[in-house]
């Protein structure tokens, strides 16, 4: 019985592993140059599909995601660097199109607060620990 459950759990975990690797890139989109293709894929993994919003365009089957994948590939082919391509996209769709929010003045709190809370947490633990030790 335990063994059976174990196998099922392994099976479910394996499905997760492969599900994460799924991508929507269609064969006709792929660039011939593997180096350039890899670059295009790495960029698309960071770009949000504005239609599905929680998927990257690399994983999304939405028509707009396909358009953007092709557009990114044509810009890679034209010799544009990553920064220029990201700028092209954020100029049109805003920072929201980046799956990872950039570190800016307006997103400062977003990035810094987890560390502040961590410090507060550490402080509280040590403070109460010391107190209880003194007792």
């Amino acid at each position: 019985m335990i063994k059976k459950n174990f196998i099922i759990i392994i099976y479910i975990l394996l499905i997760q592993v492969f599900a994460n690797n799924s991508f929507a890139v269609e064969p006709d989109e792929i660039l011939k140059n593997p180096k350039k293709e890899l670059r295009a894929r790495n960029i698309s993994k960071n770009i949000r599909c504005m239609v599905c919003q929680n998927q990257s365009i690399d994983e999304s089957g939405a028509p707009l995601a396909k358009d953007l994948r092709i557009l990114i590939r044509s810009q890679v082919k034209d010799g544009k660097n990553d920064k220029e391509i990201y700028k092209f996209l954020t100029d049109r769709y805003g920072d929201f199109i980046l799956l990872k929010p950039p570190f800016k003045l307006t997103t400062f709190a977003l990035w810094i607060f987890p560390f502040i809370f961590l410090l507060i947490g550490i402080f509280i633990i040590f403070y109460y620990n010391k107190k209880s030790l003194n007792k």
Binding site: M50, D67, L71, T90, R92, Y93, G94
Partner: protein, 176 residues
């Protein structure tokens, strides 16, 4: 001492809860994203026109008077739903440019013949490239472009009665 350990988390929890409750009851559509093109110039583009042989050149069309830009397609059901409101704008005397998004031209001509054509000019966006320059992610989308050629408002989704009123008020405000 023991008391404080319990009361602080409860107060914090209630605070977080009330923030979530507030976000729930205010009218907020998380899908309605602000446009990055707000208060910027309209993107420059050229395209074929649907109803005549003249080339559509954006720089000639914007910057003279207030214009509404409406992305539409015949395959898009919400576009059909909002069509009566687009016609109302046209009756009010507002210039509307309809960008025909990834559509079959023959279908679009038939559709407009049947439902009426509120558009003063219809550039064709065959492959959706123009829409990307406008930051469009789901048609129908409607933009208000002021008389200086600057984008003042963007609405994603069909124009409903409520949105129709809102756009009318905005136009009045912008035209002042």
């Amino acid at each position: 001492m023991f008391k404080r350990v319990f009361t602080i988390p409860i107060i914090l929890f209630l605070f977080v809860l009330s923030v979530f409750f507030y976000l729930l009851i205010i009218e907020r559509d998380p899908l309605d994203l602000p446009s990055n093109l707000l208060n910027k110039n309209v993107p420059d583009f050229e395209a074929k026109s649907l109803l005549n042989d003249e080339k559509f050149v954006a720089s000639n069309e914007f910057g003279n008077e207030l214009v509404l830009v409406n992305f539409f397609a015949t395959w898009c059901k919400p576009c059909r739903d909002e069509h009566i409101y687009i016609k109302k704008f046209s009756k009010r005397g507002i210039r509307i440019i309809g960008i025909n998004y990834k559509d079959k031209s023959a279908n679009a001509i038939k559709w407009l013949g049947k439902l009426g054509n509120p558009y003063s000019n219809i550039p064709i966006d065959k492959d959706g490239r123009i829409a990307i320059d406008w930051g469009v992610y789901g048609i129908p989308e409607t933009f208000i472009v002021d008389s200086k050629g600057i984008i003042k408002y963007r609405h994603v989704g069909p124009v409903t009665k409520k949105i129709y009123k809102k756009i009318n008020l905005l136009i009045n405000e912008i035209e002042k």
